[in-house]
Amino acid sequence: MEETIKIFTGHGYWTPLIWTLAALGVLILAILLWSRGRREYKRGTEQELPFLSGEKAENPRVGAPHLYWGFVEALRPFLSPLRDWHSGLINDYAAWFLVVLGVALLLLVV
């Protein structure tokens, strides 16, 4: 039975059984904490509306592009050249194929 679960990695082994049991323990703890929370919450009422600086926004959704905005901005110096690299031009793409072929030829033939 143990052999069907365990995989050997060279250094040791990985078994999802222990990890799953630990995760279940954490889940039970989380449920216990949650069950001790406040009970005034009611579905479908104003309580469901997000609090945005005290204003009731019509579409209070935080879209995916806004998530990690700062993180993405910090990566901009790396991302901009990458986006330029994906130019959409077939000539560029074919040229990169020639580059890979050239590297392979250098490595194997020259």
């Binding site: 143990e2 052999e3 069907t4 679960i5 365990k6 995989i7 050997f8 990695t9 060279g10 250094h11 990985w14 078994t15 999802p16 990890w19 799953t20 995760a23 469901e48 509306l49 997000p50 209070p60 959704r61 935080v62 879209g63 995916a64 592009p65 998530l67 990690y68 993180f71 993405v72 990566l75 790396f78 991302l79 990458l82 986006r83 690299w85 994906h86 077939i90 560029d92 793409y93 074919a94 990169w96 194929f97 580059v99 890979v100 072929l101 590297v103 392979a104 030829l105 490595l107 194997l108 033939v109």
Partner: protein, 510 residues
């Protein structure tokens, strides 16, 4: 009939695909039933072939001989067309068969009649036939033929939505790049044929001595197959292709990429196995790292859910290349860590097919319900599509390699194997996984969380069936990885790692 299972797995979809438009003229339900029967038959065939190969060894099937096991023609020369199915080929066939069983029922409901459903199904079945042909063939020229079959069918699927502007453009780019890579591959085959007068993979492999022509051919094979496998910096076609193809068919395109990677392994380990070259291994490892870094970073800035998943799929190609590339670097000394990395790389092919497949089906379900994949317009779908949201979350976590899911099981083998070669490789791979977790957390938040989003109608039960099958696959592979690693991954990795002599002996005798 079971004696002919390898060829039936290819011939039935090849002929069955062309029968689809004819049967559609009788009745749509007859066509749909036929498609399901063909896919089911292929599933049974690849399952039978895999069971046979994993228990009894390499299965050689010769066409045109009185006895399908008669590999050598009079004179002792393997001149006939031949299928040579070892554990790695059978493993690849299993992936293709399973994904087809999931993708086609989904496609039957997903693609509207007025959008040319019949042609789409035909192309899908032909793509499946080409994939299985590439996996099973033991002949270099036939490999090229099936490579072209997959290219043509794939381009048809990519550009299927001709009424949009982006799909035909993506198909045009893919067609051009596939043609270039296919022609360079053919040139490599022609050079070897000119040198040895043979096309049989085992025979040519036995003859190769490392001449300039041999090395020139290898460079051509490498460039051609890396392009088709969507490795950076020749991956550009893949995000467009995956993103523009109907979601139900994007799964098959992922398997199409994987089978090109399989072709690369076959060339490097079996055809040129006697010339194990650490330099080629390092090239594969370097391009693998480049692929995962570039794709993960590009996924971060996507606003189209389909393209985001497409970049996620490309990044996973990098992990497979890293795992098997480490094995290639270590091939001459054959240390244990090389084999562990290869096990991880091979296992990741199966895990990738399931996780990326599930993500594409979820994208399809979202598009079905909302009519868009634009993350700026989506949101709050978790209220109306709870099953799809949970499946997307599960697949995202698996793709990012979060334990105890299947993606982690294969990635830990890659991490530990590559760590012994250089800790820097592992560090980059782990960082990319963290980046992918951030990318998919963002996608999940954008599409499924937030105030309730309006959903048009209910998700058809057949969508949930296909999604459910992949969810079960991900959970089973994640929770009992030992069984699958032992029974199918290890034999497949061994077939590459040390199976060359057996492969040659199965065809040439001795």
């Amino acid at each position: 009939m079971s004696v002919h299972a390898p060829i039936l797995a290819i011939a039935v979809p090849l002929l069955g695909g062309f029968a689809v438009p004819l049967l559609a003229r009788l009745h749509r339900k007859v066509r749909d039933l036929w498609v399901l029967l063909v896919v089911l038959f292929v599933g049974v065939c690849v399952g039978y072939v895999a069971a046979h190969v994993f228990t009894q060894g390499i299965w050689v099937y010769v066409l045109g001989a009185k006895n399908p096991q008669e590999t050598l023609a009079p004179g002792g020369f393997p001149i006939r067309i031949m299928l040579t199915v070892d554990a790695m080929s059978a493993f690849m066939g299993l992936i293709a068969g399973f994904i087809a069983l999931v993708a086609f029922p989904f496609a039957l409901k997903y693609i509207p009649e007025e959008e040319g459903k019949t042609l789409s199904l035909t192309l899908g079945i032909l793509l499946l036939a080409g994939i299985l042909g590439m996996a099973y063939t033991g002949d270099l020229f036939n490999f090229f033929v099936f490579l072209e079959v997959t290219s043509i069918a794939a381009c048809g699927i990519i550009g299927f939505r001709t009424w949009t502007s982006r799909a035909p453009e993506a198909a045009f780019k893919s067609m051009l790049l596939f043609s270039v890579s296919g022609l360079f591959f053919l040139l490599g085959v022609a050079l070897l044929y000119g040198e040895y007068g043979a096309l049989n993979l085992a025979y040519v492999s036995a003859q190769i001595r490392g001449s300039v022509v041999d090395r020139l051919s290898l460079a051509l094979f490498l460039a051609g197959l890396l392009m088709k496998a969507a490795a950076a910096p020749v991956h550009f076609w893949a995000p467009d292709a995956y993103g523009e193809a109907p979601a139900a068919k994007a799964l098959l395109l992922v398997v199409n990429t994987q089978v090109s990677l399989y072709g690369l392994w076959r060339v490097l380990f079996t055809l040129y196995g006697g010339l194990s070259d650490a330099g080629v291994g390092w090239l594969v490892v370097s391009l693998g790292l480049l692929t995962m870094v570039v794709a993960a970073l590009m996924a971060l800035v996507q606003t189209d859910l389909g393209r985001l998943v497409a970049y996620g799929a490309v990044s996973q190609i990098g992990y497979m290349m890293l795992g098997v590339g480490v094995g290639l670097v270590a091939l001459s000394g054959r240390p244990d860590y090389g084999f562990v990395a290869m096990q991880g790389g091979v296992f990741h092919m199966l895990n990738d097919a399931l996780t990326v497949g599930l993500l594409f089906l979820c994208v399809g379900a979202v598009e079905w319900a909302k009519g868009t994949r634009d993350l700026r317009a989506l949101g709050g779908l978790g209220h109306g599509l709870p099953e799809v949201a949970l499946a997307f979350l599960l697949a995202s976590l698996a793709l990012a390699g979060i334990p105890p899911l299947n993606g982690f099981a294969s990635k830990i083998l890659i991490y530990e194997g590559s760590f012994r070669l250089s800790p820097i490789l592992t560090a980059i791979a782990v960082l990319c996984s963290i980046l992918l977790l951030a990318v998919f957390a963002r996608a999940f938040q954008g599409a499924f969380l937030g105030p309730r989003g309006e959903v048009e109608g209910k998700i058809p039960w057949v969508f949930l069936l296909s999604i459910g099958l992949l969810v079960v696959g991900i959970l089973v592979l994640g929770l009992v990885p030992g069984f699958f690693v032992e029974e199918i991954v290890t034999p497949a990795a061994k077939a590459l790692w040390q199976g060359r002599a057996l492969y040659l002996a199965a065809v040439l005798g001795g």
